[in-house]
Symmetry: none
Subunit: 221 residues, 2 copies
DNA sequence: TTCAGATTTTAAGGATATCTTAAGAAACTA
DNA sequence: TAGTTTCTTAAGATATCCTTAAAATCTGAA
């Protein structure tokens, strides 16, 4: 799950980034409004955390524009302001929830989970051939027998299964699963594909196909 | 589509080159300003990605000189600097957009597409008879059955389909798809046309026509 | 803290698909 | 028909991927 934090106070954003990464979210931080808006509109995120007051475009404006493009992605405001008017204004601009600073991390986490629940509630079981994946319980089965995957293995398989039937480019995979954006001359993907195939007992072109020069693709049959 | 990257950090340029090639662009890299400028002025590129600070001629200077010669070719700056002044300076020198490092590859791609849009149209799906091509998912279908093409096969078919109804000259094809500018004394095109026709199960003048002495043309029946 | 075990990443040689070249056959043009 | 261009096939060169093992990093318990 990818989270974008738009927040200009490094203290808060670092705190959140670290905490959320410990909960195995992939976190990006934007410290300025225009950058935040641009990142948000890239469509790579599953949830947005927006500060109310930030340099450049305001949080509300980001929310409004973001909502036009992505109806289903939850937005949570982090705000020091607590007047009723402004809160209403914020929710009207399309936010799903808000939380007042200062807040307990646990509480924020709970709200994030609440927001992600309904959306993923429908779509959190995926199948690929005889492989079944449950995002809620973080489990993978092969013919109803549980297979134990590590975090990265799970994240990679999730990416492939969410994009079942589409070719997943190496660059996209490494950005989404490893959060690496530069200097990518690594063979981690190969190694993890290999590990997945082994654990899932797949022959090389079975269910997870290699698309030479481009990436991989999960496909039934 | 041909892209020139002027960037002296091999980590970044390799990353970009690979990613863009996965999107079937033909990519050249210059690591030094003078070389970059010379290549840019050759007029062979559809878009330029310029680093701000490079050895030799600066990115801004390249941009300015390039803009004099080619008004319509978009230029995007890759810059680590983020002050407003310098950005404005960059845009005044004729750049169409800029992106701050570090950035998401997705975002850069989106900006490249935005810049190329007015020229090439925003279609990412093309059809040719019963052949369907999806650039987003990097897939080709014949009567809704997927056909697996190699990189070069895909790039060649893309070139033909983008230019559907127009005669594609051999020299243009080889420049755009193979990045070869001299020595047209090769028969790669023939070999790949043959491979395409085989995989797509086309008779010789069906959908992909041979224009003797000139090249090939994709055409609906 | 320190240590052991698990996970992640790096590295390198072997395996294999793709790319390119080359050459003879076939088809077209004049 | 002669000459040119394209088609087709095969094989060597190249690039990418697979696989393994070991190094680095992370994690949790003593």
């Amino acid at each position: 799950m990818r989270i974008l934090i738009v927040e200009d106070e490094p203290g808060i954003s670092n705190f959140l980034k670290q905490g959320l990464e410990e909960e195995s979210f992939a976190v990006d931080v934007a410290e300025e409004g225009n950058i935040g808006l641009r990142l948000a509109l890239s469509g790579e995120y599953d949830i947005l955390l927006l500060d109310w007051m930030i340099p450049g475009v305001s949080g509300i404006e980001i929310c409004r524009q973001f909502r036009k493009a992505f109806q289903d992605t939850p937005v949570i405001f982090l705000t020091a302001k607590d007047t009723v008017d402004e809160t209403i204004f914020g929710l009207q601009s399309g936010a799903n929830d808000y939380i007042k600073k200062p807040f307990h991390f646990e509480e924020l986490l709970e709200r994030i989970r609440v927001q992600l629940r309904p959306k993923s509630g429908e779509h959190n079981e995926f199948t690929l051939g005889n492989i079944k994946m449950d995002l809620n319980t973080h489990q993978v089965f092969r013919d109803n027998e549980e297979i134990y995957l590590t975090q990265k293995e799970f994240a990679l398989l999730e990416y492939l299964m969410v994009n079942k039937g589409k070719v997943c480019r190496r660059t996209r995979i490494i950005e989404s699963v490893w959060d690496i954006h530069f200097d990518y001359n690594t063979s981690v993907i190969d190694v993890y594909i290999n590990a997945l195939r082994k654990k899932l007992m797949l022959r090389n072109e079975e269910l997870i196909k290699t698309i030479r020069g481009v990436g991989y693709m999960a496909k039934d049959e």
